[in-house]
């Protein structure tokens, strides 16, 4: 028996079932978290902080839908403008010209280094104080062609758009710079050697590949921008947070209305995610 002992397990090995390693720690932590969240939600419903019928009532309230739409418009326009600003700034930074590169670095430092909220308030309040009137005049003409108080031009919408676009442009500049630098010099040399001009190298070789690389980061920034439109509530732009605040300050259903706003922000985020995924699929594989 003792002689045959060692051989037996080897022969039986093929027939034995495989037992996966159990990671008990993860399951225990997960269970505790789920119980904790359930207790909070249950507590909220029991103490009537959260009334689901009120949420249903306000979810498609015209003012709130309009607020969500405004957030979408503002966030999307800001993404477009900041992409253009970011591309220009990134190209300046990589141009090799010390003045252009320095200007770009200073821009990124200033606009990335100060809170977005301060920048929004600055565009809305400080600029009209600094420049009370906007005047457009042509040389050799006696009077101004166009003159108007700055406050008429700088609406809450424009101030918010300028603030978000310029602040976001600084982040976009760094994202695009990273994307452009990720393309190896070998491909640039090969394109140049074929006879492409530097502009052609950029548009046909660098940009398509850099574009693919920066899509996830841009998706991230789009989502952040959509949520950052809530900052515009402070300068009186009727986006979602502003609308919701106005409603709950009269009916005091704070939690429900904030939940409604959160649901809309989640819907916008889902939209941005769908667009990002679509773009990632559209670019050819590498």
């Amino acid at each position: 028996m003792s002689v045959a002992g060692p051989a037996a397990p080897v022969l039986a090995a093929a027939a034995l079932p495989i037992v996966a390693q159990r990671r008990w720690g993860g399951w225990v932590v997960g269970g505790i978290v789920v119980a904790f969240v359930a207790a909070i939600v249950w507590g909220g419903i029991r103490s009537r902080i959260l009334d689901l019928t009120i949420i249903g009532e306000y979810l498609f309230h015209p003012a709130i839908v309009a607020g969500a739409l405004n957030a979408l418009i503002l966030g999307t326009l800001a993404l477009g403008i900041s992409s253009v600003i970011g591309l220009i700034s990134a190209l300046m930074r990589l141009s090799g010209n010390p003045i252009l590169s320095g200007l770009s670095a200073v821009y990124v430092y200033l606009f990335r280094g100060t809170p977005m909220l301060i920048q929004l308030v600055f565009w809305f309040n400080a600029v009209p104080t600094m420049f009370p009137t906007i005047t457009i005049s042509l040389p050799f003409l006696p009077g101004p062609l166009f003159e108007t108080p700055t406050t008429v031009v700088v609406t809450p919408f424009l101030a918010a758009l300028a603030g978000l676009s310029l602040a976001e442009g600084a982040y976009m500049s760094e994202i695009m710079r990273a994307g452009i630098m990720a393309i190896d010099n070998g491909q640039r040399s090969a394109a140049t050697a074929l006879g492409m001009t530097q502009r052609q190298v950029f548009t046909h070789v660098v940009a398509p590949q850099a574009g693919r690389i920066i899509v996830p980061a841009c998706g991230n920034q789009y989502i952040m921008l959509l949520k950052s439109t809530s900052l515009a509530s402070t300068i009186g732009y009727p986006e979602m947070l502003r609308v919701v605040t106005d409603i709950y300050s009269s009916n005091f259903r704070v939690v429900e209305l904030l939940t409604v706003a959160a649901i809309w922000y989640l819907a916008l985020t889902a939209l941005a995610t769908v667009i990002q995924t679509g773009l990632e699929k559209r670019f050819p594989p590498r």
Binding site: S189, A190, A193, L194, G195, T197, V205
Partner: protein, 274 residues
């Protein structure tokens, strides 16, 4: 008229980065149709010399001509004026280049890579560029793989696509910088065979290489560089059997010791020829 001008002509060309000298005072002519092998130890300046010919690098001294045209400058009575990017890129059209690491455009298929020069640089219609590219892919034996992306191709296949991409511009000179150095030994043959076929077609080529089979069997002429200078310039047979300089002798002795080249020819190299 340009027929009897040399394909490439170097007049006292030098290149340095501050105190780092890649090469100095290099002068030689490459006649049309000749295949030159540039040999020399690592750091001799071979790659830099090739990159100076199509002005991927600016030169520090001397003049580079291709078919009599001064590359990179416009000459007046008083000075050499650096040409703008648009003008240099016009000059580069006639000088093809193949790189050690292939450098294919990774977002384009093999076919699109070969079409890129005619399409983007020459502005040929898509159909015409496609016909040209398909013919070249057939020539390098890759018709079946034309829709593959570089990441889906072996090193040897990528290098053949890169050669086809350079040829699509119908260059009057082809510069190859260690075309087989990044390849596994069993893939070297297919690329060497492609280069040999080009040589037989009369393509003017300058090949920087550590592959003695290319130097001996494909090239018409060996230029041996060391320490940034041309040390020896001779026919391949003469270079391998009776090198004139001590440095060339040492270089060949080192190669022999490493088993890279063994004159007389080994059977494996004779296989590569067929």
């Amino acid at each position: 008229m340009t027929d009897n001008l040399p394909a490439v002509s170097l007049h006292g060309v030098g290149k340095s980065w501050g105190p780092v000298v890649a090469f100095e005072n290099v002068s030689f002519d490459v006649p049309r149709g000749q295949v030159v092998a540039l040999l020399g130890p690592s750091g001799a300046g071979k790659s830099t010399l090739l990159r100076c010919i199509n002005r991927l690098e600016g030169i520090s001294a001397g003049r580079v001509y291709a078919y009599g045209e001064l590359i990179g400058y416009r000459e007046t009575e008083t000075a050499l004026h650096e040409l703008a990017d648009a003008q240099v890129s016009l000059q580069r059209r006639q000088i093809g280049m193949v790189f050690q690491h292939f450098n294919l455009f990774r977002h384009m298929t093999a076919l699109e890579n070969v079409m890129s020069g005619p399409r983007i640089v020459l502005g040929l219609p898509k159909a015409e560029a496609r016909i040209r590219a398909e013919a070249l892919l057939a020539k390098v034996g890759l018709t079946a793989r034309k829709d593959a992306y570089p990441a889906q191709l072996s090193g040897g296949q990528q290098q053949r696509v890169a050669i086809a991409r350079a040829l699509a511009m119908e260059p009057r000179v082809l510069l190859l910088d260690e075309p087989t150095s990044a390849l596994d030994p069993e893939l070297v043959q297919e690329v060497v065979a492609t280069i040999r076929a080009l040589a037989e077609d009369g393509q003017t080529m300058m090949i920087a290489t550590h592959d003695m089979a290319i130097a001996r069997d494909v090239a018409d002429r060996v230029i041996f560089m060391e320490g940034g200078a041309v040390v020896e310039d001779s026919a391949p047979a003469a270079f391998f059997t009776s090198p004139r300089s001590d440095r060339a002798r040492q270089f060949l002795a080192r190669l022999l010791k490493d088993g890279q080249a063994a004159p007389p020819q080994s059977p494996a190299q004779q296989d590569a020829r067929s």
